[in-house]
């Protein structure tokens, strides 16, 4: 596929992810609880990972491409970790423990980023494993986390089934499926898996955008229409 098309697709994905951050930060802002901080952080890092991938596609220097791809891998994994942690802690733990764990996770992220910076941008001190192998393991890990979130949200839906609560599990299932398609593409270079992974990823982000619109924007529009009538 043409690199320009791929850059546009990464750009669209990043834009959608950043649009979602505006909504995902609302639970944290309203409640002030750290356990919901993973949601905006997760979607921000997803957007950043798509930007790194887009940037890597726009360079011709193979050294820069590799560095950008490694950054994309780590930010992508952290995005899924933050999302999974948010769901894991959303009901289970006392506030103080969650606060400490979130701080630990953010500190660990900075440590990993410093390590990555030292490894990638300074004269080589440590040798990184092959990008392709790491990519496959990371995709698998991301997929497992996305499946975990899918089951978590599906369980919430099953407790009190409502049509409006089925979309979040669908969104996360699509996100997991896109990671699976990227994994298949990495293993057998299947073109359809590569295209499918991008399309499914955008679909999943659109599902989340629809959920956000229905909950936050649509009631506002209805209220405004009522006041005009």
């Amino acid at each position: 596929m043409n690199n320009q098309i791929l850059i546009i697709i990464e750009g669209i994905s990043a834009t959608l992810a950043f649009m979602l951050v505006r909504f995902m930060i609302k639970p944290y802002r309203m409640t002030g609880e750290n356990r919901y901080l993973g949601l905006p952080l997760g979607f921000t890092l997803l957007g950043v990972s798509y930007i790194f991938m887009g940037v890597s596609l726009s360079f011709s220097d193979s050294l820069i491409i590799e560095k950008m791809k490694w950054l994309q891998l780590f930010t992508g994994v952290y995005a899924f970790v933050f999302l999974a942690v948010t769901y894991y802690f959303s009901a289970k733990m006392p506030r103080q423990k969650v606060h400490l764990l979130m701080q630990a996770l953010i500190s660990l992220m900075f440590l990993v980023l410093v390590f990555l910076f030292v490894t990638l941008f300074l004269p080589p001190l440590f040798a990184l494993p092959s990008y392709k192998t790491a990519d496959e393991y990371f995709r698998l890990f991301n997929m497992i986390l996305a499946i975990y979130i899918t089951f978590h949200t599906l369980r919430s839906h099953a407790v009190k089934p409502e049509p409006k609560t089925i979309l979040a599990p669908l969104g996360y299932a699509l996100l997991a499926f896109s990671q699976y398609s990227f994994l298949i593409w990495s293993l057998d270079s299947s073109f359809s898996a590569f295209v499918g992974a991008h399309v499914i990823r955008i679909l999943s982000l659109l599902v989340f955008l629809f959920v956000s619109y229905k909950a936050i924007i649509a009631p506002q529009d209805t209220a405004q229409k009522k006041s005009v009538v």
Partner: protein
């Protein structure tokens, strides 16, 4: 299932939601709010006084939401609905 302790913000919001739900009635009685929010009487009086200081309710004896209070509760309900749709729990 183990119930986590509610923080002050959650209690405020529970009280405001009850006041909003009861707002069609002519007079909102304390005991009704107390029953629905599960807050002891002396603490409920203190919370209502604080909510009045924040300009979220009009009167402590028969509380009604102010414009600011209604706006705050509406925003809160939207965020709660969003969290529910996203499969997140807030307890």
């Amino acid at each position: 299932m183990k119930q986590l302790r509610r923080d002050r913000l959650k209690i405020y919001m529970d009280i405001l939601l009850v006041i909003k739900a009861e707002s069609r009635k002519e007079k909102i009685v304390f005991t009704r709010i107390q029953q629905k929010t599960n807050v002891p009487f002396d603490r409920l009086k203190m919370y209502l006084s604080e909510l009045k200081d924040l300009d979220l309710i009009q009167d402590e004896s028969s509380p009604k939401l102010t414009g600011k209070g209604l706006q705050y509760v509406t925003e809160y309900e939207k965020v709660l609905d969003f969290m529910k749709r996203m499969g997140l729990t807030y307890s």
